[in-house]
Homo-oligomer: 186 residues x 2
């Protein structure tokens, strides 16, 4: 699997990669245990500070790792590792070390202890910003405190989940409607 | 513009269309005023009841219509009306009637007063389920109480926003990874 060469990316601009709705891999660490989970229920919530919201089921092994460590990394996988993404989503960190099991490379983040996945196109280091909606909705609000994005390609080919084992693969990107935007709306 | 012939769809399965992250048109009505807004910041939050979360900026004309009426419709537009979607996002309901201005057809919903957009592939009638996070995060939690989805095609070609006037058009759908799922995970 390819390990992407990345550069720093403005945290206020990560909507470029998250707003289109890709499946993400969320990595975490707490007291010597690490894990990776597959997630599709997330949204951008603010540019500055860079906030994202996501749903993490209480039964996921990652739930407690993230709730206790108050950190995680959002990693964006590309379509070429879709099979690995599915395998990650269909196993539990209670039983296996997913980095070892799936041949993924943990890379130290700059600001969080949760490991980043080198084989993902982008890594967003996150700190838990608000846990008040966790109990009622399993909704975590994170601030993205540091973003790393591959130098090329400009836009990754991502996978988007429809449920029932079906994925949509991201298609072409277009700027043809850009002329219809008011300057202040860009 | 094509008006889609739709049938009832299980509200617990709307993730098929929302989880991939398309731009949606949110329609609303309150005291004789209607509006449509373009939205990219939303997420699935629960299957049953069918909950979705979304961010609506306080400055949007739709903010007060939805907050006061406690209803809206999530409409999913397809790529063929992308230009109209952008125009809707770059005008305000304070100044124009967007249904009339853009030649869209309002259709009465079964359970909400907010009009559905006939030219969209799917219409999800929503009731405000939780407004407690509106003040702090502009985050609305809706319950989808009724869903209408086009009979064909099975999967729409949707538009996904990256910011800066750039859209990703949804690509092909694949079930090739389905065999990797555990039965209970499908």
């Amino acid at each position: 699997m390819r390990r992407y060469d990345k550069k720093d990316f403005p945290t206020s601009e990560i909507r470029r990669f998250l707003e289109p709705g890709p499946i993400v891999l969320v990595s975490s660490a707490h007291r010597g245990r690490t894990n990776i989970m597959t997630m599709g229920w997330h949204m951008v919530m603010e540019f500055e500070p860079s906030l994202i919201g996501c749903y993490i089921w209480t039964e996921n092994f990652s739930f407690e790792l993230i709730r206790r460590s108050r950190e995680c990394v959002f990693n964006i996988p590309t379509a070429d590792i879709a099979a690995t993404v599915v395998r990650i989503g269909n196993t539990s960190g209670r039983d296996i070390d997913k980095f070892a099991e799936f041949g993924l490379t943990p890379v130290a983040g700059a600001t969080v202890k949760a490991p980043m996945v080198a084989e993902c196109f982008a890594n967003f280091e996150c700190r838990l910003a608000d846990a008040r909606m966790v109990k009622r909705y399993s909704l975590f609000v994170f601030e993205v405190v540091k973003a790393h994005v591959a130098r090329t390609p400009k836009y990754p080919r991502t996978i988007h989940y429809r449920g029932d084992g079906v994925f949509m693969i991201s298609g072409r990107n277009t700027s043809r409607y850009r002329r219809l935007f008011k300057p202040g709306m860009l």
